[in-house]
């Protein structure tokens, strides 16, 4: 009832959507399409304006494919002017993987299934070449020998590159994550829950990606509100990846990430108390197809938390819907950031009996809602979680 009132108030004040758009909201064509259709926006609007002929959409550095040798990956690229031409898929060292025209839609968004050869475990870059054009991404494929259950996951959030000495601290965080394998098992993958660039600027994003490329594990990246600042979302779509939402599998564990958008406009082109304007209806519709009651064990991740003691949460027009979507028995954990402080809640939003530092969560309380503190606040930090069929635990690691 309170949420309904809050939403009604926000609708009256802001309209909760297009028609009242400050300059750092997503571009109007993207908002019209819906954030989930970001690749279509890239194909129709962004690539022609920027004069780009080919974009590798998936897998990429921030949206990798984790597979065992011999398994299949879906390679997606966008080439509106070259859609009828065959593509060559290779590793970034030139090792050939596949040829084919793939299956393309009317916007030149193409897919090709590629069977992975018997590569050694590790991270690999991938390239797609079409009509004399080539697009590559490092660390796009991770070859593993087995899928661990539970998976060991590093949760990092809020790099805010460009703010004070955040870049230095974030570099220390990356180095610390890379060193985990020296004293124990290497984590299976990382999840970054947004706010890479403090002002949404290209040079800030470049520093962030340079650091992320140093990671020795695959990493999944979603946007935060700061990534939209100063029209930064266009740069994100080209530099990080053209898909704002993602669904990936790590063995039997489903990973679902969405962009929770920019800060909600208060009607005067000022933001509210850090609530988001998303996920929008296109994302919620898509989420309903992947967060189904019969889905495999799932981790959902996005920037704005559903639960927080203040209003800095998922926006009032999406919160109830998103909360209902993730509150299923098969959703093990919901990871977010944004508030620059650690937060821990159970499925009902109750934080009691759960330590902020480290704890194991009983299955009755799943999904765990884990909010990671800002990684780049000195001395820096990140969380390590174990999430699987029958276990959910977490631990916050503060750098010395």
């Amino acid at each position: 009832m309170v949420d309904a009132k809050t939403c009604l108030l926000s609708v009256l004040l802001t309209g909760c959507g297009p028609g009242n758009v400050p300059y750092d909201y997503p571009p109007p064509p993207l908002m019209d399409l819906g954030l989930h259709q970001a690749p279509t926006y890239v194909a129709r609007d962004l690539m022609p304006i920027r004069g780009i002929a080919l974009v590798l959409a998936h897998p990429r550095l921030g949206q990798p494919a984790i597979r065992r040798a011999g398994e299949v990956i879906d390679v997606e690229w966008i080439s509106p002017q070259l859609a009828d031409q065959p593509a060559t898929i290779s590793l970034d060292d030139g090792t050939w993987l596949a040829d084919g025209a793939g299956t393309c839609d009317g916007d030149g968004i193409c897919h090709l299934s590629v069977s992975l050869p018997d590569f050694a475990p590790g991270l690999y870059g991938i390239c797609v070449a079409v009509g004399g054009q080539q697009a590559c991404s490092p660390h796009a494929i991770a070859i593993v020998t087995t899928y661990n259950d539970p998976a060991t996951i590093v949760h990092v959030s809020d790099a805010h590159i460009g703010y004070d000495d955040a870049a230095t601290t974030f570099a220390n965080v990356i180095a610390s994550i890379d060193a985990i394998g020296q004293t124990g098992p290497t984590p299976d993958f990382a999840i970054f829950t947004g706010d890479a660039a403090d002002s949404g600027l290209d040079d800030q994003r470049a520093v962030f990606l340079q650091e992320i490329a140093e990671l020795n594990i695959p990493v999944f990246i979603v946007t935060g509100n700061h990534d939209y600042d100063a029209t930064g979302i266009d740069g994100h779509l080209l530099d990080v990846g053209p898909e704002l939402d993602m669904q990936a599998m790590y063995g039997g564990l489903q990973l679902v990430g969405v962009s929770s958008g920019q800060d909600l406009d208060d009607g005067n082109h000022d933001t509210t108390i850090s609530e988001s304007n998303g996920p929008d209806s296109s994302e919620l519709t898509w989420l309903a197809t992947v967060l189904t009651p019969d889905a495999p064990p799932t981790i959902a991740f996005f920037h704005h938390p559903i639960y927080n003691g203040t209003l800095a949460t998922i926006g009032p027009c999406s919160r109830d819907a998103l909360k209902a979507l993730v509150t299923h028995d098969n959703v093990r954990a919901v990871l977010s950031g944004h508030i620059h402080a650690t937060g821990v809640f159970d499925a009902d939003g109750n934080s009691r009996g759960l330590s902020l530092d480290a704890d194991t969560v009983p299955s009755a309380r799943w999904p765990l809602h884990y909010i990671a503190s800002r990684a780049s606040r000195a001395p820096g930090g990140y969380a390590i979680l174990h999430v699987g069929t029958s276990r959910v635990d977490y631990r916050w690691i503060e750098l010395p």
């Binding site: 309170v2 809050t6 639960y307 939003g349 109750n350 934080s351 009691r352």
Partner: protein, 167 residues
């Protein structure tokens, strides 16, 4: 008419000279229960309470609380009622009952409320120093709204009061 005005003025002057005000600073902890979590040891809290005495038996309270283990502010309005004055007990002591409604930033600001019923004991360390006292309370708290929990807290603290508070 003039006599009435004089009485009002005298009362006002007396009130402004010694208003029945009190402030309390305390800490609390306890146990709790929720359907998913089961029984648990609750967090630790700190609270500041500003009170206005309404006659010798009632006080209206404005309370600010904060969870010491996580960010969870609370703002409450309540009342305390003491069934008798100190002379019936000991001059320095006074039991009371209290009730409070608080908005609490538990899972989302504005989505959770704490309803509290409690019993406490309030008194002075020494009869000569009436501005400084102590209090101890046992509270039963029902959290309603998005999060639904039950908890029982013990709260201990010190109190600072003007001479006319609960006299």
């Amino acid at each position: 008419m003039d006599r009435a005005a004089v009485v009002v003025l005298l009362a006002s002057a007396r009130a402004s000279a010694d208003p029945p005000l009190a402030a309390q600073l305390g800490g609390a902890t306890g146990i709790g229960y929720a359907s998913l979590a089961g029984a648990y040891r609750d967090d630790n809290f700190v609270a500041v309470r500003a009170s206005v005495g309404i006659g010798p038996y009632v006080a209206a309270d404005l309370r600010l609380g904060e969870d010491l283990d996580r960010v969870e502010p609370a703002l409450g309005l309540g009342a305390r009622l003491r069934p008798w004055q100190g002379e019936c007990w000991l001059a320095r002591f006074s039991p009371y009952v209290r009730g409070e409604v608080a908005v609490v930033g538990a899972s989302h600001l504005g989505s959770n409320y704490d309803l509290t019923l409690g019993a406490g004991h309030w008194g002075h360390f020494t009869p000569r120093v009436r501005w400084l006292g102590w209090y101890a309370e046992v509270d039963a708290i029902a959290r309603v709204g998005e999060v639904q929990t039950w908890s029982a807290h013990v709260e201990l603290g010190v109190t600072f009061a003007t001479g006319s508070f609960w006299r």
